[in-house]
């Protein structure tokens, strides 16, 4: 069980993704793959086993030509805080190996590869399909392993992986801050790879608890919503869309159900 911590300076890192700006270009997906040593294989068209920590979904409003509409929705791990934000994330609650854990300091749900033994309970528990299983050992064509980053360990067959909010960037930034005798980070010192890459500036990242960070205000936008809010997963990824049908798509309402 998690310790109940009442840390004064506890952070809740999170994102606000503006779907009105997102163009579906996919740069965030690739930035994530490149930053985090995500493997690839010859055929990636079976999306169930295609490892994409961040996946951009295409939503349609279901109306016939010419009233059809499209909206793209990037989905990283939602870093669920669980009911009451005590760290009872769906995945964390079921992991028998404590290989995935909720940090009360940052609000980030971690994945500890060396502990994971591949039971995949967490994958079944995650309502957002944010977790991926390594069915194979990663293989890089001869020479391509040269671009692998030492900041993120390479995963092997038999373990589960997912978006970490580029946690290594947090560690590096904190190290630097400590070295300089600071306990706190500036907003721009810790940014995720997808946020940084997005050509549309659609993704904003920061501490949801910190009134000085942009996400703090953005999440209160009248068009902001979270995915499957009624599950009380208490996710830390907010979305903004000016279109009602998109906001409704964020919760899987039944055909005729009223919001």
């Amino acid at each position: 069980m998690k310790e109940e911590q009442n840390h004064e300076k506890a952070k809740r890192f999170g994102m606000v993704i503006d779907l009105d700006k997102c163009t579906g270009c996919g740069a965030c997906m690739v930035a994530c793959m490149s930053e985090n040593n995500v493997p690839f294989k010859e055929d990636e068209s079976k999306k169930l086993d295609s490892i994409t920590w961040l996946r951009v979904y295409k939503l349609t409003n279901g109306k016939p030509f010419p009233d059809a509409e499209i909206c793209y929705l990037p989905r990283p791990c939602q870093h669920c805080g669980g009911k009451g934000d005590h760290g009872h994330s769906p995945c964390v609650s079921v992991c028998p190996a404590t290989a995935t854990d909720y940090s009360n300091d940052t609000g980030i749900v971690s994945q500890i590869y060396t502990r994971c033994f591949g039971c995949r309970y967490c994958m079944a528990a995650c309502p957002y399909h944010a977790r991926y299983f390594n069915w194979w050992d990663p293989v890089w064509p001869d020479g391509m392993e040269k671009y692998l980053s030492p900041n993120v360990s390479v995963r092997m067959r038999g373990i589960v992986e997912k978006c970490s909010f580029c946690f290594h960037r947090y560690q590096i930034a904190m190290e630097k801050a400590h070295y300089e005798g600071r306990g706190e980070l500036e907003e721009n010192e810790y940014q995720t790879a997808c946020t940084q890459a997005c050509p549309a500036n659609a993704i904003t990242f920061g501490d949801l608890n910190n009134p000085g960070h942009a996400v703090h205000e953005l999440k209160k936008d009248k068009n902001a919503f979270r995915l499957l809010e009624r599950l009380q997963t208490n996710t830390k990824v907010y979305y903004i869309s000016s279109r009602e049908w998109v906001r409704r798509a964020g919760d899987n309402y039944l055909e005729k159900e009223k919001k």
Binding site: G26, M29, S45, Y57, L59, I70, P127, H129
Partner: protein, 735 residues
């Protein structure tokens, strides 16, 4: 509300974007996987000092500034440069994947000479000396025989010092045939030449526009400089700028626009003329700007007023006349409206008529050469090399008519018409030797069969490609260039920018293989050929040429990574009111605005195939690296099958259903495709993405899907020689 079962996120209203959400496949494979955790091979990436190198991306004409993270001597990540005038920190999926190209399996690792049949993939490694001697000797023989003009060069770009060196080589050698890959740039150049009297590109001050009317341009899908365009779109969202997208398919750009107007395929020009009709009829235009008193304008006005009323345009385009009336008023009454064309990413040309019709809207609004408007932009001014001495051969050679006809009496307005290249060669124009620089014409030009036939007729093909792409595979000798992350090169970003920027690509890592800078190779070839060709290349090597050319800007380029000093980057031409002649001095409007006849008999081919561009499928010189192909949706590519988009009504009429196989037939060829139903496409159309169906590259890309160029052809615009094909007639037969 109570939830008694596990709730899955089903991101797909109406089931259109269904994600397979069942955990069943995972459960089934449970046993086999649970105890198989073995760790036979654990690459542990070596640690080292972290540094960043500023450079420039050359993977598309966008010209983004990049910052490459290195650990020790390895490059590990590409990011955008914050504060760079083109992309300000943003970057596209292709740019992010550059390291997979650098370290990837498709690199050509040393000069290669073909030993087997063309395309068989049998090569012999040769030394650089041998390679250069062999090519120089062939060139020398041709020159000696007085056939210097039978040498041609197809380049991906004509901007920057490397293409300029190749162009210079061609001229002093005695050939007029320096060609660049076709794009909408050709169309803009001709339109500007016709209406203003000089060849220039168009640059769009989109960040300051307050109304954007796009005729099928993929504004956020790779048109112009892609990252800059997406950034502009975000600023429009914030500022409430209205964007209207005209095209028959709900592209991502249409989806993001404020208003999507589906038009009948290939009738964009008519809609533009209909809008001009309303603007002139209501007297909403800038009379000074369009020389209202001049003969050209009067002819244009009379034609528009008599033939393109909203009623008649409704019949051609399928757009309601009320929509035409209100759109015209919205456009003309905006302060800084911009009309823009070039379908998709602008990789294909459009007819001169379409260009003039769209540019006429800009001229009527008086926004040419004005803040928030359209500028005429000349080529960057910094490449000013001393004149060279042409001998008799050279002087005679460059006077010959170009293979593609550009600049001839018939195609006098054009600078380059590479779209006509294959046709010309197939009808007998002699090409004895072809240079291919930073382009993949065998794959990217429409009508693949004709292009292949043309290539077969060329006895000697020299590829400078860094990668074993489709054209390199079918060449006779490959002189591999360093990739951009291994070389210095000026990167002028001109694509649609009103204020061009020149950036500097610089070596992030040392060359990984036995490759050579194409700039050095062409200098070496020239030197090997001796006087007078060699005399035109006084530089010791490419680096000396580059630094000398940049002059006092070299320091800034090297320190900042870019320069946007207008004196250096490009000349923006001032277009004064009254300088724009809408009629373009074209005597006969009927050929200009005749609707392009689409290839094929409508009875045998009741449908219409349109290629479309996707940000996630690179379709230029560079094919998708593994990361990018991974982002392609399974409604576009499934295994090796390509999916085409059709409207459910089209499917029903043809007995097809989602996921079923069909044979897609066009007058050019046929292919087996899978069906994807899409409500966002006009009934009767079949949409296929560009960029798939490569025969070369690695297993991550080769053999996946179909190259749409195999199924489409070219249709020559009689007014200009441009390719006016919008697509091609087609049929879908249940397989």
């Amino acid at each position: 509300m109570k939830i008694d079962r596990r709730c899955f996120l089903s991101l797909g209203i109406g089931g259109a974007a269904g994600i397979a959400l069942s955990p069943l496949p995972w459960k089934l494979a449970d046993d086999s996987a649970i105890w198989t955790q073995m760790w036979p091979w654990t690459p542990v990436p070596a640690d080292g000092e972290v540094t960043y190198v500023k450079s420039a991306c050359t993977l598309c004409p966008g010209g983004c500034g990049i910052s490459v993270r290195k650990v020790g001597n390895r490059a590990v990540k590409i990011e955008g440069i914050e504060g760079h005038p083109v992309n300000d920190g943003g970057i596209c999926p292709l740019g992010l994947s550059g390291l997979q190209l650098l370290y990837g399996p498709t690199r050509v690792k040393s000069p290669l000479k073909r030993t087997g049949e063309r395309g068989e993939g049998k090569w012999e490694k040769i030394s650089w000396e041998e390679a250069i001697t062999e090519v120089s000797k062939k060139l020398g023989d041709l020159r000696g025989k007085g056939e210097s003009d039978s040498v041609a060069c197809i380049s991906g770009s004509d901007k920057g010092t490397v293409p300029a060196l190749f162009k210079r080589f061609m001229s002093v050698f005695g050939s007029p045939n320096f060609m660049r890959m076709p794009s909408i740039q050709d169309s803009y150049e001709i339109a500007n030449n016709v209406s203003m009297g000089f060849i220039a590109q168009s640059g769009f001050d989109l960040e300051k526009a307050d109304f954007v009317l796009s005729f099928g341009s993929g504004l956020i899908e790779g048109w112009g400089s892609p990252v800059r365009m997406i950034r502009a779109n975000s600023s429009w969202r914030k500022a409430g700028v209205k964007v209207v997208q005209v095209e028959p398919r709900l592209s991502n750009t249409a989806a993001k626009s404020d208003k999507w107007i589906p038009v009948n395929p290939g009738t964009e020009y008519a809609l533009a003329l209909g809008l001009a009709h309303v603007i002139i009829r209501e007297s909403l235009y800038r009379k000074d700007f369009v020389q209202a008193g001049a003969l050209g304008f009067i002819r244009f006005r009379d034609l528009i007023l008599s033939s393109y009323s909203p009623e008649s345009v409704e019949k051609i385009t399928g757009v309601k006349k009320e929509t035409i009336e209100s759109l015209a008023a919205d456009f003309a009454k905006s302060e800084r409206p911009i009309a823009i064309c070039g379908r998709g990413q602008g990789k294909a040309q459009s007819s001169l008529g379409e260009l003039l019709a769209v540019q006429a809207l800009n001229a009527l609004a008086g926004n040419i050469g004005r803040e928030g408007g359209v500028f005429a932009v000349n080529d960057p001014a910094y490449i000013a090399w001393p004149a060279y001495q042409a001998d008799e051969t050279a002087a005679a050679g460059i006077k010959k008519e170009r293979i593609d006809g550009a600049g001839s009496v018939k195609y006098g307005f054009a600078k380059s018409l590479t779209n006509r290249f294959a046709g010309a060669v197939n009808s007998g124009a002699p090409v004895s030797l072809l240079f291919v620089l930073e382009s993949n014409p065998l794959y990217s030009l429409p009508d693949t069969k004709a292009v292949k036939d043309a290539f077969k007729k060329i006895p000697f093909i020299v590829s400078f490609s860094s990668f074993m792409d489709d054209t390199a595979l079918n060449s006779d000798i490959i002189l591999p260039n360093h990739v951009y992350l291994e070389r210095y090169e000026d990167v002028p970003a001109t694509a649609g920018l009103s204020k061009p920027v020149v950036s500097l690509a610089r070596p992030v890592v040392s060359p990984q293989f036995n490759t050579k800078h194409a700039g050095d190779v062409i200098i070496l070839i020239a030197k090997e050929m001796g006087s007078p060709v060699a005399d035109a290349f006084p530089w010791d090597d490419y680096q000396a040429c580059l630094e000398g050319t940049a002059g006092d800007k070299w320091k800034i380029l090297n320190e900042e990574g870019f320069s946007s000093d207008p004196a250096f980057t490009a000349q923006v031409v001032n277009t004064f009111p009254g300088k724009f002649d809408i009629s373009g001095g074209i005597p006969d409007f009927t050929i200009l605005f005749a609707s392009v006849s689409h290839e094929g008999d409508p009875k045998a081919y009741p449908l219409f195939l349109m290629p479309y561009d996707s940000f996630r499928i690179a379709s230029g010189y560079i094919g998708d690296p593994p990361f990018v192909i991974k982002t392609v949706e399974d409604t576009v590519l499934k295994g090796k099958d390509i999916l085409v988009e059709i409207n459910p009504a089209t499917a029903k009429a043809n007995g097809l259903s989602a996921g079923s196989y069909a044979t897609l037939k066009t007058p050019k060829g046929s292919a087996r495709v899978k069906i994807n139903l899409f409500e966002g496409i006009m009934p009767g159309l079949v949409a296929m993405p560009r960029g798939l169906g490569h025969t070369a590259y690695d297993n991550y890309l080769a053999g996946k899907g179909i190259n749409v160029n195999e199924l489409i052809g070219t249709v020559e615009d009689p007014a200009s020689g441009l390719d006016a094909a919008w697509g091609i007639r087609a049929n879908l037969i249940k397989a």
